[in-house]
């Protein structure tokens, strides 16, 4: 409920925003300026989008023409899209990334929500100290704990499996705990008190009231973490070793790049690199376009990692 209304209000707010340029009145001067802004933005949008267009176009080019920088492939070929699956276990990599992403996002969303509810609803000693620790651990660089965390997974016998890529998410993540707590605090407390009077358990308050009312926020957390997991190179690099069948998309794409890049001794089959890079990106673009308002709202309210 709450974010829905917040989103709607935001959209309606957007409409009459003339900005500082056109304060109230709409002179010809400000209209000319508006055209100028749109023109500048259009040029910038082309610059930002052209790499995608280049990639899409190159994926339909033959081996010799990948670098010709022409907009329309000539001759155009569909062969790369047929061959790339045989050149490398790309489908497997996409599947691995999808599986790891769902596990990472699912566990972190559930656990972070449970912990966030603990911080939002209850009154207990040391609450502020504990929450301060949550905020502090948000700032901690992952590089510092990387080696001992590796040793933990090694001692548990999970190095060489996909478990370390999502396992620690079972315990929630500081950034999402912070974000969801803010959201839960926005739910009127009377709802919980009324449910308590009706005999609802504490977990029931979370599961039947807080969680359903916070669906937009939970979706934001899920898609953020899914994207972060899909993007991650460091952990697959550390934990998956040489088992190509366990590779996720970033690690697989990197190995393709090494395999075909002449600098690293490859034979220069750049058409496969280009096609694989595009196929690695498309799921994320689809997710963004489908859940755009969640992304924008999530980033705008909380700030994103960078």
């Amino acid at each position: 409920m709450s974010v829905d209304t917040a989103l709607d209000r935001k959209e309606t707010n957007d409409a009459p925003t003339a900005g500082p340029a056109g304060i109230g009145r709409r002179s010809t001067g400000s209209r000319i300026m508006l055209v100028l802004y749109v023109a500048v933005l259009a040029v910038l949008a082309v610059i930002f989008l052209y790499p995608f267009v280049w990639l899409l176009s190159a994926s339909f080019k033959t081996r010799a023409n990948v670098f010709d920088n022409k907009l329309i492939p000539n001759p155009a070929t569909f062969a790369n899209y047929i061959q790339v699956w045989h050149v490398a276990p790309l489908l497997r990599w996409l599947g691995n990334s999808g599986l790891v992403g769902v596990l990472a996002a699912g566990t972190v969303t559930f656990s972070s929500a449970v912990v966030a509810f603990g911080f939002a609803y209850f009154r207990f000693r040391a609450k502020n100290t504990m929450f301060g620790l949550v905020l502090a651990s948000m700032m901690l660089p992952t590089m510092v704990t990387m080696i001992p965390v590796f040793l933990i997974w090694k001692n548990l016998g999970f190095v060489g499996t996909r478990v370390p890529l999502w396992g620690s998410n079972i315990f929630g993540s500081a950034f999402y705990i912070f974000m969801l707590r803010q959201f839960f605090l926005g739910i009127p407390r009377e709802l919980f008190e009324a449910a308590r009077v009706d005999g609802c358990s504490y977990f029931g308050l979370f599961w039947r009231i807080a969680a359903p009312l916070s669906r937009p926020a939970l979706i934001i957390v899920f898609v953020f973490e899914f994207q972060a997991s899909w993007d991650d190179l460091l952990r697959p690099l550390i934990y998956l070793g040489n088992n190509v069948n366990l590779y996720t998309v970033p690690l697989g794409l990197n190995s393709l790049y090494v395999q075909f890049n002449p600098i690293a001794g490859g034979n220069g089959d750049f058409q496969y690199i280009v096609t694989a890079a595009l196929l690695a990106t498309i799921p994320m673009i689809v997710i963004f376009l489908a859940g755009q308002r969640y992304f924008v709202e999530g980033i705008a309210t909380q700030g994103h990692k960078g």
Binding site: R9, D14, T17, A18, G19, P20, I23, L34, Y37, V38, L41, L44, A45, F48, P51, W54, L55, V66, F67, N69, V115, F122, R123, F124, R125, M130, P141, M143, T145, M146, I147, P148, V149, I152, I170, F171, F183, R189, D231, L233, V249, L253, N254, V258, I263, F270, A277, L278, T281, M284, I285, I287, V296, I299, A300, T301, G303, H304, K305, G306
Partner: protein
């Protein structure tokens, strides 16, 4: 934003009541609360606090994963200060951060201000600027390694059209950091969205009052826009700096793979990559732990300085100072 506001009023209503009615904490409620936050407590102990201490202990040892760790005192730290690769890596990483962060803030702010002027269609441009953020870092590195190719790359072809001879972006040691900066700038859409949201929250009447007083556009920018969105800028500076100092994935793809590691020489050695190589390729876990602690201290110190400076400059609404 409205979500947060509602949150704070919610807790305000609660606090006085809690103080009067319940001077003491309910034991049952406390037990339930700890049950709810227990996942985080366990995770914090096992994956954050524990590893921090362990990593500090390891930094005083030599450990290669096979033999038991051998205590060597401060040797790793002394070695670190004499290691020329540490100096190179730190220099490269700082240079990159100093180039990237101010440029990213300026470009993102400019884009957000342009978007803020639009009466319609801002959604389309916002999507255009945000799609690169969704692109996996490895794909960005791969794509730009082709676009930035000194001989056939699109960017040098485009520069040639206007009569500029483009550099060998990824092999000329002087152009490696600018190349990585360029890749980073392509993906600054998140900062644009944050700045745009902050700009939308600047009260319009401030601009109206300034216009009546005859303030110029630059003056309005400097005296209204920048102070009003300074918390967002401040936050972005901190986040982008921390990320820049840990830059890893794009650099690894382009320069860190065994076989392609050396062709750009020392200019491509970033700190996190050196740390990774020492830990997981050379298996010097003790030395790498010392490197990790140095990075931690550097990031802490830089963040603290930024917070101290920021608190003097940043304008918080409702601040009583």
């Amino acid at each position: 934003m409205s979500v947060i506001n509602r949150g704070s009023t919610g807790s305000k209503q609660r606090t006085p009541a809690a103080a009067r009615v319940r001077p003491q904490y309910d034991a049952r409620e406390t037990r339930a609360a700890f049950a709810f936050i227990s996942p985080w407590i366990i995770g914090f102990l096992v994956f954050t606090a524990g590893p921090m201490i362990w990593s500090l202990v390891l930094s005083f040892t030599n450990y290669n994963l096979v033999d038991t760790p051998k205590n060597v005192g401060f040797k790793n730290y002394r070695r670190m200060f004499d290691d020329p690769r540490v100096h190179t890596a730190l220099g490269n990483t700082f240079l990159y951060a100093v180039m990237f962060v101010p440029l990213a803030i300026a470009v993102a702010l400019a884009l957000a201000m342009l978007l803020n002027r639009l009466t319609s269609g801002a959604g389309f441009f916002r999507t255009a600027f945000y799609l690169p953020v969704m692109t996996p870092a490895v794909a960005v590195a791969v794509l730009f390694s082709l676009l930035l190719n000194g001989d056939y790359g699109l960017i040098n072809k485009a520069l040639a059209l206007v009569g500029i001879q483009g550099p060998q972006w990824l092999t000329d040691p002087h152009w490696i950091k600018p190349s990585i900066v360029l890749m980073g700038l392509w993906g600054l859409g998140a900062a644009v969205v944050i700045f745009l949201a902050a700009l939308k929250n600047v009260p319009k009447d401030l601009y109206e009052a300034a216009a009546i007083d005859g303030a110029s556009g630059w003056r309005r920018f400097r005296s209204i826009t920048v102070p009003m969105i300074s918390p967002a800028i401040f936050f972005q500076v901190i986040v982008l700096t921390i990320a820049a100092l840990q830059m890893f994935d794009k650099v690894y793809v382009l320069f860190g793979n065994p076989g392609s590691a050396t062709y750009a020489g020392n200019a491509s050695l970033f700190y996190s990559m050196y740390l990774f190589q020492e830990a997981f390729q050379a298996l010097r876990m003790g030395y790498a732990s010392a490197l990790a602690w140095l990075l931690f201290v550097i990031i802490m110190v830089i963040t603290l300085i930024q917070v101290k400076v920021g608190n003097r400059i940043v304008y918080y609404e409702g601040d009583r100072r």
